[in-house]
Structures are given as C-alpha cells and as structure tokens.
C-alpha cells in the first residue's frame, strides 16, 4: 500500500510539474456540504478571473496563472490537507474562504512565508500588519461590518434605548463581532441580545421564537451557508419586517433570499464591493472565458454577489502580483515577493476602470501597519420582484475609534502569546 501510494504521489507531482513555472493561486474551495451555496460562486469567480487574465492578457506580466482547486468542504482538517498538498507547487497566496481554516493557517503560513488574504473574514485583528506580517484582510473586516451596520441604523434614527439582536453562527466567525457590538452598545445606548445558531444552522426555531417575543427593533445576522436561507425564511414566517433585518456580507447573496420568495423583499445586507453584472469586465468574461468553454463550475453563477466577490478577490490578488513584479523587477515572483506586493498594493479608481471594474470597490492603500484597508462599508437591499440586489448606501467609513483599540488589544495579546516581534520598521 505504501509503495503504491508513494508511486502515486510521485506521479502526481510529475503530472503537476509542467505548471511549476506558472503563478500559482490555489483555491481552497468548497463545492460540497452545507456551505457549498456560498463556496461555489466564490470559487467560480476566482477561477474565471484568472482564466480571463490568461486568455486576454497572457497571464500576469507575461506569466500564466494557474488555479489548482482543492475541496475543503469548509472543514479544517481537509483545509490543512489542501494547504500542505498545494504549498509545494509554489503557492503565492491562500484565500481559504473560511474563518476556521484561516485561524489554522495563520501560524503555519507565517512560518512558511506564504501570505494569506482573508478578504472580509478571518481574524479581524490581522489588520495590524505589525503583528500579522503575512496575513491581510483588506478592504474590510468583520468589525467594520458590525460598525457599518450600526452607523447605517443611526443614519435612520437615534439608537438610544432600542433593542438590537445579533443572530450569529456559533463559531469563531459568528463570535467575531460580539465585542465590537458590545462596545458600540455602550457608546450609543442600545440593548444587544445575542442569539447563537449552531452549525450547520438548519435549526433556528427557538432563536426566532425569542425574536418574536422580544420584538427587537433590528436584527443583525452573521450567518453563512444554509443558515442564511433558513434565517430569512424564519424571519418571513414570524413576519419580521425585512427592512429591519441586516445581514453581514456573507449573508447577502441571491442564494440566501431566493428560497423565501417575495417574503424576502427588502432584506438588507452589507457589502464592500459592487453588485450586479453591469461592468465592462463581464463582457470580457463572456467573450474570453464562457464562449471559449472555460467557465468554472456550471457557469451559471456569473454576476451573482458571491461570484463578484470571488472575482474581486482574484482581481486584488492579480493586482498585488503585478505590484510585486514591479517592486522586484521579475515576472516570476515567489510567495515572499507576493507578500511585499500585497503590502504595497494601491487600488485607485483609474486602475479599476482600466480593468473594466469602474466603481466596483473603494479606493485604498495597504501599508505595513495597516493590512486591513480603509474598512468602507456599503449597504445593499434585495428586490424580490426584480430579483436583484441594489446598492442603497454608498461605501461609508466605520467607527475606527471603537475598532482600532480592539484591534490593537487583540493583536497585542496574540503577539505576547506567541512572542512575535514588531515586523514594521
């Protein structure tokens, strides 16, 4: 058995060796399990954009890209296996799309010198690049999201004395915003109720019964996968007003609201990038990727919220790779060079327009001290009759007076625990 396995592994490595010269962007995807509804469109968007770069521009700086995909099933054990099996291929950056796997990979990838980009998820305090040298979570993180939701609600009216319920996935991911919301509730005088939902989130009757009883003025949700659909359906069942129900960006895709039908009309979700397929880049994707028969997956996700997010993640990775190529003067970059590129990344409106994504996301710069970007958060709303999300509030800043001390505190604790020296000069 061992011999057989050994020969198989050797054969697999040999089969993979022609792609060694490419720029490798492993995609730790999940197309199975209770979180597949979120994993599929993201992985498709990520792969399609890299395919587009290969077909249209001949790769990045003349070097072709490759996106080896590895199925994690949102499971941390498989995530470790995927990380170990792909890192030998010259992986430039990991985007595991799972907070649990991100937590796992932070120490490993830092020791291996490979950057992680956890865009809008992962460990929020990784925004402090001084401590987390190899982890990036620009352009926005969970705490920006929590604060953005509260800011939006405050723009609708005073929050003092109001009740806000947080329905969250009972995991590292869902627990992230609690501390921020608690601080904000002290600052603005609203009452916070915490309602955890256990994995995978199909059972939420008791949580929504409590919401029905306590009648909170607003409900904020940090859900993912099948939990989102169930929550929107339950909210509709108890006739909770959808306008008062706000999801984080991971709870705001078409998959989450479509099952509830018309009842989901008016449901709101945060976002940190543009929605819809009204961008020039989609014509290119149609022409170079879909018509060429290279669309990832079933090819039916193009233009959905999470597809766009995968596309955005790929775009940011490609731009960081370009930046790295410029800094180091070589097209064939390594993971360490990629890290430098990510740290020097500048996204301007002119750049996005040139890529066919005008106004798709906020402009921002990454620096050594700030790996988290500006934390600008927009608000979208679901229109059930047109079946579209629309941006109802422009990208607005979040309350960094509350968030920055929390980031500093949490990252300082991590640095002390793991004896990490300051990495910024």
């Amino acid at each position: 058995m061992k011999m057989k396995l050994g020969t198989m592994a050797v054969a697999a490595v040999m089969a993979a060796s022609p792609v060694m010269a490419d720029l490798v962007f492993p995609s730790l995807s999940y197309r199975t399990g209770p979180y597949a509804a979120g994993g599929i469109p993201f992985a498709d968007g990520y792969a399609d954009y890299m395919n587009l770069l290969n077909a249209r521009d001949g790769g990045i700086g003349g070097v072709m890209t490759s996106v080896p995909e590895c199925e994690t099933g949102y499971n941390t054990e498989k995530g470790v296996e995927c990380y170990e099996s792909t890192k030998g291929e010259g992986a430039l950056v990991y985007q595991p799309l799972s907070t649990g796997i991100t937590y796992q990979l932070i120490p490993k990838a830092t020791a291996d010198g490979i950057p992680i980009h956890s865009m809008g998820y992962g460990r929020t305090s990784a925004a402090n690049g001084d401590v987390f040298s190899n982890v990036f979570n620009y352009p926005a993180n969970y705490w920006n999201g929590a604060s953005g939701a509260i800011n939006y609600l405050m723009s609708q009216g005073d929050l003092a004395g109001k009740k806000i319920a947080l329905v969250y996935h009972n995991s590292a991911y869902g627990k992230e915003p609690i501390r921020t919301l608690e601080d904000l509730s002290k600052k603005h005088g609203f009452k916070l109720t915490l309602l955890p939902v256990d994995h995978p989130g199909q059972e939420q009757k008791s949580q929504w019964l409590q919401i029905r009883r306590e009648k909170p003025d607003n409900v904020i949700m940090y859900g993912w996968g099948v939990m989102n659909q169930v929550a929107v359906q339950e909210a509709a069942n108890i006739r909770y007003p959808m306008e008062d129900f706000i999801g984080i960006w991971w709870s705001g895709s078409e998959n989450d609201v479509l099952p509830a039908g018309d009842a989901a009309n008016g449901y709101k979700a945060l976002t940190f990038h543009g929605v819809g397929n009204d961008f020039p880049v989609f014509e290119d994707i149609q022409k170079y990727v879909v018509d060429a028969g290279n669309a990832a997956g079933a090819g039916d996700q193009i233009g959905t919220v999470l597809y766009n997010r995968g596309l955005y993640a790929a775009m940011l990775a490609a731009e960081a790779a370009k930046t790295a190529q410029e800094i180091h003067g070589t097209a064939d970059i390594t993971a360490a060079m990629m890290r430098d590129g990510m740290e020097a990344l500048e996204i301007t409106e002119a750049k996005m327009a040139a890529l066919g994504l005008p106004g798709f996301g906020p402009e921002f710069n990454v620096s050594c001290a700030n790996h988290g970007g500006p934390g600008l958060v927009g608000m979208t709303q679901w229109d059930a009759s047109a079946k579209t999300w629309s941006l109802i509030n422009e990208f607005a800043p979040s309350d960094m007076d509350v968030i920055q001390p929390l980031i500093d505190e949490d990252s300082a604790a991590y640095a002390a625990e793991n004896k990490i020296a300051s990495s910024c000069k």
Binding site: Q104, K108, A111
Partner: protein, 358 residues
C-alpha cells in the same frame, strides 16, 4: 509454506502466551516497528506528516479507545467527539497554565481527566444498554460541545472562542506550534500510539479484557459467574476515554494547532471513529489501525486519482468519497461484520495452509 508455526517451539508459558506466537508474525511486527521508528522519520516531509501520518496515528488511538468500549465491552458509544474535546480542552488549559511542563505530561493528564469524565458519563450504562445507551452517550456528545462553546473559561476568554496551541516542547524539541519539524510531531504521536496499542492489547488479553468480553457477550451470565458489572463497565469507560482523551489532545495540539469545538469535535467526529472500528473490525486492536488507515488514506487516494490524475471536478470526487464510504459500511455490515481484521485473519489462515489446503 512461508507462514506457519511448524518448527516453532515454545519452551515456557510466557513464550506460549505472547501476543505474536508465530515467529513470522513476530518478525513482521518488529519490522513494522523498525520502519515506523527508524525509517519513516528520516524520509517524511510536511505533506506526508500532516496529510497522512498524523491523522492516521491520532485516529488510531481514538479507534483503539472506542474499540475497547464498543468492540470489547459491548457498550455502544456515540460520544467520542465529546470525549476528544475534553482531552483537547484539558490539554489546552494545562498548556496555557503550566507552559514550562513537558507536553508528554500534559497529554497524559489530559487523558486522565477525560477518563474521569468518561466514567461520569458511563454511569448510565449500569442501568441502560444497547440503543438507549447510545442515546445517552449522544447526549454527552452534545452536552460537552455545548459546554466548551458556552463557558469562556475553557477557551481563556478569547474573542473568537477558538483555542490555539502555543509552542510547547518535549525534551527541548518543539512538538506544537507552527515551527515544528515533521519528524518531531510524527515521533511524538508514534510514541503514544505504540504505548497505547501495547497497553490496550495486554489489557484485552488479561483479566480486564475477559471481564469486558463476558459483559459484552451476556451480562447476566457474566454477573452470575462473578464479574462485577459496575467495575467492568466503568473500567471500560475509563480506559476507553483515557485513550480517546489522549487522541483528542494530540489532535488539537499537534495536528491541527487551532480548533473550534463544534466543527472539530462535532457529531461527525463520533461517527467517523465509529465507522473506523466498524470497517476495521470490532474487538480487534489491529482492526483499529486498519480502519483508521483506511478512512484517512481513502480520501487522499481518491483525490490523487480523481483530481490529479483524471482531472475530475473536485466536488464530484468529494461526493464520490461519501458514496464509497457509505457503501463500504453497508457492505461490511452485511458481508463481513468483523471488518478488515477478519479479512486479515482469514488471509493468515489461508496462508498457513497454503499451498496444500487439505
């Protein structure tokens, strides 16, 4: 022809009652040990350790533990994930409270703590059995996971509720944290596996094991011939939980490095270990290893063949794995209830008679 006891004479009782009475078997066992200790550590890299060897070794300990309870003592348990979580959280609390103490001690104490918890949850087994006991242990599974999620003391009040293993050493060599060497973690786990297997094998051959098997085969008859069911059942729960606790501690500290209780130690973990001993063979130490190896290696092989060779989409391969494992469980339960271990035994019998089976 090659594999036979002819010419193999025992001249003393210990020789006659040793674990591997046939010389060929014994040499094979020494060879496996030699390869595992002196060859593999020099040849493995991160990928082999983290994808195959560590999960195999750690699951093997868990499977040995569960096999003692289910296979030898006949007490069906679905609480394996919960008990592994006890081991992991006990290890975490010990690691963070006493950073200067060797990991070896932490893991052992974590096992002892789990043994205590296991005895506690084993108490209902004195009154209920079979299907109802399975439900009671299922309650333990859910209660323990809920407890570790609910009480912040267990995860040192971290914001995310995750526990992550800081760097700790054994004899000055790092075995946890990100900067470990592949061989160090491998040998650390291997040491636990070898000691666990030897202890388990000898326990099940001795008076304890006979009492457990008597209880398994017919508890009333066992009581009549003088087996104390209280002692037998609770000792089975204690020993089983001890091993499961050790595997949970290693699973968290050495293998994953950071865990989230609901995700890493959920009900699926209990079923995975149960499937391991069903496929491997109930009531067999070798079966625990075979089952663990099978369920750890199968997904990796499927991925190598399906994704890397044949270029199939990753989701098809992932689904295929579920289908294959499910089908195998059904097939084994129908065709070979004693699992891979029985196939191995039959093969050995055939080999002994070969080439003249009559």
């Amino acid at each position: 022809m090659f594999y036979r006891e002819a010419g193999d004479f025992s001249t003393s009782y210990p020789e006659d009652s040793q674990t591997f009475p046939i010389r060929f078997d014994r040499y094979r066992y020494y060879l496996v040990l030699f390869v595992a200790i002196f060859v593999i550590p020099f040849t493995i890299n991160d990928y082999w350790v983290n994808s195959i060897f560590l999960p195999f070794l750690i699951y093997a300990i868990a499977a040995i533990g569960l096999n003692i309870l289910v296979g030898y003592c006949g007490q069906v348990s679905l609480g394996t994930g919960g008990f592994m979580a006890v081991g992991a959280y006990a290890c975490y609390k010990l690691m963070t409270s006493f950073p200067e103490v060797s990991m070896l001690i932490h893991v052992l104490i974590a096992g002892l703590i789990t043994a205590g918890v296991g005895v506690l949850f084993g108490l209902p087994s004195l009154r209920i059995k079979g299907f109802y006991l399975a439900v009671a242990t299922l309650a333990a599974q859910f209660f323990l996971v809920w407890l570790f999620n609910r009480v912040p003391w267990f995860y040192n009040y971290s914001a995310s509720g995750q526990i992550s293993a800081p760097e700790r050493t054994v004899f000055g060599i790092e075995v946890t944290g990100p900067n470990t060497e592949a061989w160090a973690t491998y040998l650390f786990c291997l040491a636990f596996v070898i000691v666990s297997a030897v202890i388990a094998r000898n326990l099940t051959r001795g008076a304890f094991g006979r009492k457990w098997m008597a209880i398994r085969d017919m508890d009333i008859a066992a009581e009549i011939i003088g087996v104390n069911p209280l002692m037998a059942k609770l000792s089975a729960f204690a020993v089983s939980s001890f091993f499961i606790g050790i595997s949970g501690a290693l699973f968290f500290a050495v293998y994953l490095g950071a865990v989230e209780v609901g995700e890493a130690f959920g009900i699926t973990k209990s079923f995975t270990v149960l499937f391991m001993i069903i496929i491997g063979g109930l009531g067999s130490i070798f079966g625990s290893f075979a089952g663990a190896a099978f369920l750890v290696v199968l997904p990796v092989v499927l991925k190598l063949v399906g994704v890397d060779w044949l270029g199939w989409p990753t989701d098809i391969v992932a689904h295929l794995q579920l289908v294959i494992v499910g089908a195998l469980i059904v097939i084994f339960l129908i065709a070979e209830p004693h699992g891979l271990a029985q196939l191995w035994r039959v093969a050995k019998e055939k080999l002994r008679l070969w080439p003249f089976p009559h």
